[in-house]
Subunit: 229 residues, 2 copies
Amino acid sequence: MVEEQDLCVTRVPIFQGLTRQEQIKVAGFARPVVAVKGETVFAPGQPVSRLLVMHAGRLKISHLAPSGQEQILRTAAEGDVVGERTFLTGYRPEHYAVALEDSRMCVFDHRDLSTLLRDYPDIGMRMLRTLSDRLASVERLLAAITSAGVTARIAAYLLDLPADVRDGVPAVRLPIAKKDVAAYLGTTPETLSRSFAALAADGAIELRGRRDVLILDIDALEQAATVTG
Amino acid sequence: MVEEQDLCVTRVPIFQGLTRQEQIKVAGFARPVVAVKGETVFAPGQPVSRLLVMHAGRLKISHLAPSGQEQILRTAAEGDVVGERTFLTGYRPEHYAVALEDSRMCVFDHRDLSTLLRDYPDIGMRMLRTLSDRLASVERLLAAITSAGVTARIAAYLLDLPADVRDGVPAVRLPIAKKDVAAYLGTTPETLSRSFAALAADGAIELRGRRDVLILDIDALEQAATVTG
DNA sequence: CCGTTTCCTTGACGTGGGTCAAGTCCCGTC
DNA sequence: GACGGGACTTGACCCACGTCAAGGAAACGG
C-alpha cells in the first residue's frame, strides 16, 4: 500500500529532491487513479483542480476549437505531470486529457497546494523548471507552425524523435497515430500523408507499417526541415 | 537610491507578497537597466541569464525563424517579467527582446536565484502563477492560429483589447504597429491589411488613423471572431 | 476467422493567404 | 514646410493546404 503510493513519487522528477522520508509523507497527499484507453480523464469546465502525476500509460492533452479542430498540445508519459495550472490556480481545466493507453496516475488536489509548497519548497523549485520547459516547448511548436510548411515540420518532428537502428538504417517509431501527429503539427491527416509520401519520393525516408519510419537519408531530411516549405 | 530600486519591486506582482523589509532586501539583488527605443535588450545565444522586471516602457518578445519569419510571442509592459526561463535554468535566451519604447527595468541574475527562492519562498509561488498564466496564453494563441482564419483572429484580438469610447462609439487603440500585430497573429502585413479592409467593408469596424479602430458593430465583430474563416 | 471500426492513403478541386511589386500615407526631422 | 523613410495599402498572381469523397489496409473484438 505504501509501496503503491510510493511509486507515484519516487520516479517523478519534481519529487526527486526529497528524502525518502519526505517522499512517503508527500505520497500521503496523493490519490491513485486509473484510466482505460480512450477514457477522458478531464475536460474543459469540469470542477476539478488536480495535478496528475503519470505513473504508467500515456495521456493526450489537446485543445478543441469551436470549429471542431483539434490541436494536440502534448502527450504525457511516465514521470510527466499534467494539470499544473488547475493545481496552482484552482481554476478549471481548459484542455482535454484522454488516455491513449490504459494508464495509472496519482492526483494531488489544489487544496493541498499551499501545504505541500510550504513544507517542501523544493517541489516548487522543480515545478518552476518543468513549467518553463513546457513553455519553451509550446513556443517552439508555435514558431514551427507559423513559420514553416508542413513537410518541414514533419521532417523536424521526425528528427526530434529518439532513433534506433533497424536493418542497419536509423529508424523512428511514431509515439502516436498519424492522425494525432497531424493534429499536433497543426495540419490534417490527408496533408500529412501527402507530405510523408513526398519525403519518401525524395528518398529521405521509407514508411514501414503504420508506425515505423526508416530514415534513409538524414541529410535530405535535415534539409527538408530547414527549407521554408 | 533606495527609492529607485524600491520601485523595481513594489509594483511588480511577483513581489507583492513580501513585507516592506523584505522588498528592500530583495531590491538589493536588482540592478537597474535602461534601453532606448529600438534597442535589443537580449538576443538568442547571448551569455546572459537574467530576469527582467519591467519598470517603464515596453518590450517586444519575439522568435525569429531561420526563414526570417518573425513570430511575436508577447509584449511586456510595466509590472511584467521577462526571461524567467534563463533566470531559472541558467540557459541562454532563445528569443529576441527589443524595446518598443524607451524602457527602464531591473535585472536579477541567475546566480542569485537559489538565494532568493530559499529566503523568500513566496516569490517562487508567484512565479509559478505567472508562468502558468503565460503558458495558458501561448496555448490559446497556438489554438487560435491553427484553428481560425486570419480575419477571425483579428476580430478576436480586437475584442480582447481594452476599449474606450470615442465619438460615442467604442474604440480600441492598437498597442503595437500593424506589422507587429501581423507577426503576433502569425500572418503578414498585407494579409492583415486586407482583413481589416474586409471587416470595415462589413461595417464592423472603421480605421481611424494608424492605430485607432472604431468598433461600429460589436455583434458583427463577435460573429467574425467565431466563424471558422 | 470474420465482421466492424478506425486509420490511412489517394484523387480532384477550390481557396485562403503568402509573395512580389508598386504606389500612398504618416510622421519625425531638419 | 519640405523632405525622407518607414509603415501601410492595394493589386496581381499562384501555390500550399484544407475539404470532400472513395477506396484500401490494419487493428480489434468476438
